[in-house]
């Protein structure tokens, strides 16, 4: 800790404060700024050059003037307390309580940026998180330690789905905690999430870090980092399986762009800075498991694709980092299907490790692969039918169309408050697949067909 205070302001612009005459301030350290209007604000060092320090002020520079500012450097990056005291608590993007409770005290503190996890120490993810949502559990299984985003567009019920997952998820009876990071969400959405997760909060299984749409943009950059720092400790020290839901990543990325523009950095694609990939990776890569330790951090970012464009930098870079994606489709939502899962566009890359024999059920992987491949064929048939009419289709193709309908009705369609067991989910999947002629089921072994395919009479 550096006790000296500096007050020689060279310039103020946007959220940037430049002080002169500084000795011993390091890059990326945090600082406390006393303003002569009586407020105390927080800053992060963006650049040091000789005796100059460039600070980003978290709460903004409104009301600051040269001669009216005293800056004290903390000697370390921005830190938060750690520990079980977080369970059941709600705070803002600086870690200050929003629930009327006392300040959150921990046994230790940690820098919110974290350190990269040594890849050698990572334990490959192996067990599922069961969400109780059939479409996800059956076809895009979430695995403990995975990062699996939800891609959506404004107007779709992605927040409802993310909240349903947050409320229902479990890890086969092991301790389970949800950390919900809201970034730039409207107040109405935040209220919806708080109400929906009430039970989880009461059970001491929920931590909320909330940055609403009108909160300072700079705090939006800290929000997910606080959430992940708390999550890492609950997982790797306290031994819980932690699901971190982060919504909305698009608002987060816009905050990154806004800050980069304020710093006059050279823009790359769509004016996002060139390091957006690394910045997102520094969040998403904090998921995982560690060798020899209990617990896991699973990350589920939620993002809205601007204009539904999956090649927009935010979904594109996210998709390159995450281990798959869950895509929601407008067209399904318009038809009244909830959750509107685009099964073919969705993929869980770690599913083959976290599902199947010894993880979920012996028949899971084969029947899921068959179901997805058959749906791809059904889509081709549907496109053909649009052109030439259903009547001109072959019997086989008509069978595929019937299968697609059966899949929607028996498996995908689900109420937002319905938590389905895994056995129920897979039985529904077999029911849908049984609509197809048996000769089409080339991806399932004969033994599994014999033991699981519902008898013709039951179809």
């Amino acid at each position: 800790m550096n006790d000296l205070e500096y007050g020689d302001v060279r310039s103020l612009e946007g959220s940037l404060l430049v002080v002169r005459g500084v000795r011993g301030a390091g890059w990326d350290e945090s600082a406390v700024i006393r303003v002569d209007d009586g407020s105390e604000r927080h800053g992060v060092v963006l650049e040091v050059a000789d005796d100059l320090a460039v600070l980003q002020v978290l709460e903004g520079t409104a009301g600051m003037r040269p001669g009216g500012v005293r800056v004290r450097f903390s000697g370390s990056p921005f830190r938060v307390p750690l520990g079980r005291a977080w369970l059941g608590r709600t705070c803002d993007g600086r870690g200050e309580p929003l629930d009327g409770g006392p300040p959150i005290l921990g046994t230790a503190t940690a820098a919110v940026n974290g350190w990269p996890l040594n890849p050698v120490e990572r334990e490959p993810p192996r067990e599922p998180v069961l969400t109780g949502v059939s479409g996800i559990d059956a076809l895009t299984t979430v695995v403990r330690g995975q990062k699996l985003p939800i891609f959506s567009v404004p107007g779709l019920p992605h927040l409802r789905l993310a909240t349903q997952i947050a409320a229902q998820s479990s890890a086969a009876g092991d301790p389970f905690v949800v950390v919900f990071a809201a970034m730039g969400l409207p107040h109405a959405d935040i209220d919806f999430v708080r109400t929906a997760l009430d039970e989880r909060a009461a059970a001491g299984e929920l931590v909320m870090v909330l940055n609403s749409a009108d909160d300072p943009v700079i705090e939006r950059l800290l929000t997910p980092r606080i959430a992940l720092t708390v999550a890492e400790q609950l997982a790797f020290v306290e031994g819980s399986h932690v699901l971190v839901v982060m919504s909305d990543m698009t608002s987060y990325c816009e905050a990154v762009r806004e800050v980069a523009a304020a710093r006059q950095e050279i823009p790359a694609r769509r004016a996002y800075p060139g390091y957006l990939y690394s910045d997102l990776a520094s969040l998403y890569e904090r998921c995982g498991r560690i060798r020899g330790r209990p617990g896991s951090v699973t990350i589920m970012p939620v993002l809205t694709m601007p204009a539904g464009d999956i090649t927009h930098p935010v979904p594109d870079l996210t998709g390159y980092i995450t281990e798959g994606q869950i895509v929601l489709a407008e067209e399904l939502n318009a038809r009244g299907l909830y959750p509107p899962l685009d099964v073919l566009g969705s993929l869980s890359r770690l599913m083959r490790h976290g599902a199947g024999p010894g993880r979920t059920r012996d028949d899971h992987l084969e029947i899921a692969a068959q179901a997805v491949a058959a749906l791809a064929r059904a889509r081709q048939a549907a496109e053909l039918a649009d052109l030439i009419g259903t009547g001109a289709l072959s019997d086989t193709d008509r069978g595929y169309l019937a299968y697609a309908t059966a899949l929607e009705d028996s498996l995908l369609r689900q109420r937002p408050d319905d938590c389905r067991t895994f056995d129920d989910t897979l039985d529904r999947l077999w029911q849908a697949v049984s609509v197809l002629p048996r000769r089409e089921l080339t991806m399932v072994s004969k033994a599994l067909l014999a033991s699981h395919l519902p008898a013709a009479g039951a179809r």
Partner: protein
């Protein structure tokens, strides 16, 4: 060296970009150390007394006025025994012995080791030796013999050679003229290691992936790019190559990619047995991990470190395959730093020297005669991750100019869960003719014809399928419907390959060829059937399950052929 002991001062810190003063003797691309944490950094520009430095680590806490120390050498890799079977970061510092969380301090302290190596001499004092000559061998982890060679640039009379026995890590094992030679050497990663000449002879690389070996094969010493949007199975394909291709040594560099994937590669390779040596697969592999959340600038160095390690094993006479996933992340590191230094951006913000940087990497591939007279090769397989799947972006287009082959991954194929999703229309290999000639000279004269026939059926089937989408399948003549069926059978029974199946994960050249021949024969048989008046619909509804499952269930293909032929004949 007085200049090396001089210390400079940090003047400005802006993330990985650091400026320093008062180091007049420092030269371009020399490595310096910053502050008490001794963060490594490279000199990238000199302007009067001001040095611009690119730091390889997180610079948090670094202050104006902190000391800067010279090291007197460019960014170098420490080459020697103990590389195989282990994991390193982008600067070749061991991760296997580093702690759980990586900070600059913990990495720097992980460098000291004190292993003793068992050296067996293989030369006689008094001999006149040239660079690349064999001095002896060292027992390393696996079946790969670690050869200690006379380093580049050293020649003369062998004055001393250690006797067989344990040698401490730092000790000299030989002396040539005045030069002491140890088990380890430092080599600047940005400088290619010398060789005698590029070989004109050809040898193919067998990858174990049917779509590559049958349609787009490459030679040892070649280079290929694997462009693919996210979710197209790029990483799984690269991992399959690392596991199953027939090289002696694999250098796998995870450059700005996922941590869980590196853990996966590591776990898988440790469990797999190398069919050729009986040892563990991991013992022929050097892994360089610089995951996306590790420092960006070490990512930039990691691909050069990887290829330097590959050249080191090449010089011992091995065929080395470098698998780089992904070169786009490396290019982004170049872009990030260029933008911080204020360099003039060219396309999409990438620096104008992007293509020369890519060329500097890919051109280090080659099948060569080493200085020691061995024929050896470095093959490079580089993944490209085009933003938005846009194959016209600068990294993809620049890369395509420097590689011999492109294995393009197709989103639609991946979308329908066809893996590996290698597109047969957008991929190519300039080595295909050379491979055909080699196959022909090694007892497979039908290889080229079979490939041509498969490519024709696939192309025709794609064209006819598009037509069928407009006019409907039923309006097409029987033979054309059989071509569409043929395309589907080739795709499902031959080109698709399950990375998960213990049987299908890799495929020998003979079995791949037999499977392709079988499917082509079945297609011909179907054509004959419709010619003889059998309804196309009937053939289309025939249960080809046994054929499609043959790649996974591994039946006797002759039995399989008889069964299908007999059943098809029954339609007539």
């Amino acid at each position: 060296m007085d200049g090396v002991t001089r210390q400079g001062r940090v003047h400005r810190v802006d993330g990985p970009l650091v400026e320093a003063h008062d180091l007049p003797e420092a030269s371009m691309y020399e490595v310096v150390e910053l502050g008490e944490q001794r963060i490594p950094a490279e000199v990238v520009a000199i302007d009067g007394t001001k040095l611009t430095l690119q730091a390889f680590e997180y610079t948090g806490g670094l202050m104006a006025g902190d000391v800067v120390r010279r090291t007197g050498r460019p960014l170098s890799a420490r080459l020697g025994p103990g590389l195989l079977g282990r994991v390193f970061d982008g600067l070749l510092r061991p991760l296997s012995s580093a702690p759980t969380w990586l900070s600059p301090q913990t990495l720097a302290s992980g460098e000291q080791q004190s292993t003793r190596w068992h050296f067996v001499p293989n030369a006689a004092p008094g001999e006149e030796l040239r660079p690349g000559a064999l001095l002896g061998v060292v027992a390393d982890t696996g079946a790969i013999e670690h050869r200690v060679l006379v380093p580049p640039g050293v020649s003369g009379e062998l004055r001393y050679l250690a006797e067989a026995g344990k040698v401490p890590e730092g000790a000299a094992v030989a002396r040539i003229g005045p030069t002491e030679i140890g088990l380890f050497e430092q080599w600047p990663v940005r400088r290619p290691r010398p060789f005698a000449f590029r070989e004109e002879t050809f040898a193919p690389l067998h990858t174990g992936q049917r779509v590559l070996d049958l349609l787009f094969p490459i030679g040892a010493g070649s280079s290929t790019a694997v462009p693919g949007g996210f979710g197209t199975g790029k990483t799984v394909l690269l991992q399959q190559l690392a596991k199953w291709c027939d090289a002696d040594v694999i250098v796998y560099v995870g450059c700005g990619e996922r941590g869980n994937e590196m853990a996966d590669v590591l776990g898988d390779l440790a469990e797999l047995t190398d069919p050729r040596t009986g040892g563990r697969m991991i013992d022929r592999t050097v892994i360089l991990a610089n995951t996306s959340n590790m420092p960006m600038m070490a990512r930039e160095a990691s691909v050069f470190t990887a290829i330097t390690v590959a050249e080191y094993f090449r010089d011992m006479g091995y065929h080395v395959v470098v698998v780089a996933d992904s070169t786009s992340r490396w290019a982004e590191a170049l872009r990030e730093f260029a933008s911080r230094t204020g360099a003039l951006p060219a396309e999409e913000g990438y620096p104008a020297d992007l293509s020369s940087s890519l060329a500097a990497f890919y051109e280090r591939a080659g099948r060569v005669r080493t200085e020691g007279g061995r024929v050896a090769a470095v093959t490079v397989v580089g993944a490209v991750s085009p933003p938005g799947g846009d194959l016209t972006e600068p990294v993809t287009t620049a890369t395509e100019r420097f590689v011999r082959g492109v294995w393009s991954l197709d989103r639609d194929l991946a979308y329908s869960r066809h893996y590996p999703a290698v597109s047969w229309s957008a991929s190519y290999s300039h080595d295909a003719e050379a491979v055909a000639a080699w196959q022909s000279g090694h007892g497979n004269p039908g290889w080229a014809a079979r490939r041509a026939r498969a490519m024709t059926v696939l192309a025709e089937a794609a064209r006819l399928s598009e037509l069928a989408e407009i006019v409907g399948t039923r309006t097409l003549p029987g033979r054309e419907r059989m071509t569409i069926l043929g395309g589907r059978l080739l795709r499902d029974a031959v080109l698709a390959q399950s990375a998960l199946s213990p049987v299908d994960a890799t495929c020998s050249g003979e079995r791949g060829a037999a499977l392709l021949q079988l499917v082509l024969d079945v297609v011909d048989r179907c054509m004959t059937l419709v010619d003889r008046g059998v309804a196309a619909t009937e053939v289309e509804q025939f249960d080809f399950g046994a054929l499609v499952r043959a790649r996974e269930e591994a039946p006797d293909l002759a039995v399989c052929r008889t069964a299908i032929t007999t059943a098809l004949e029954a339609l007539a």
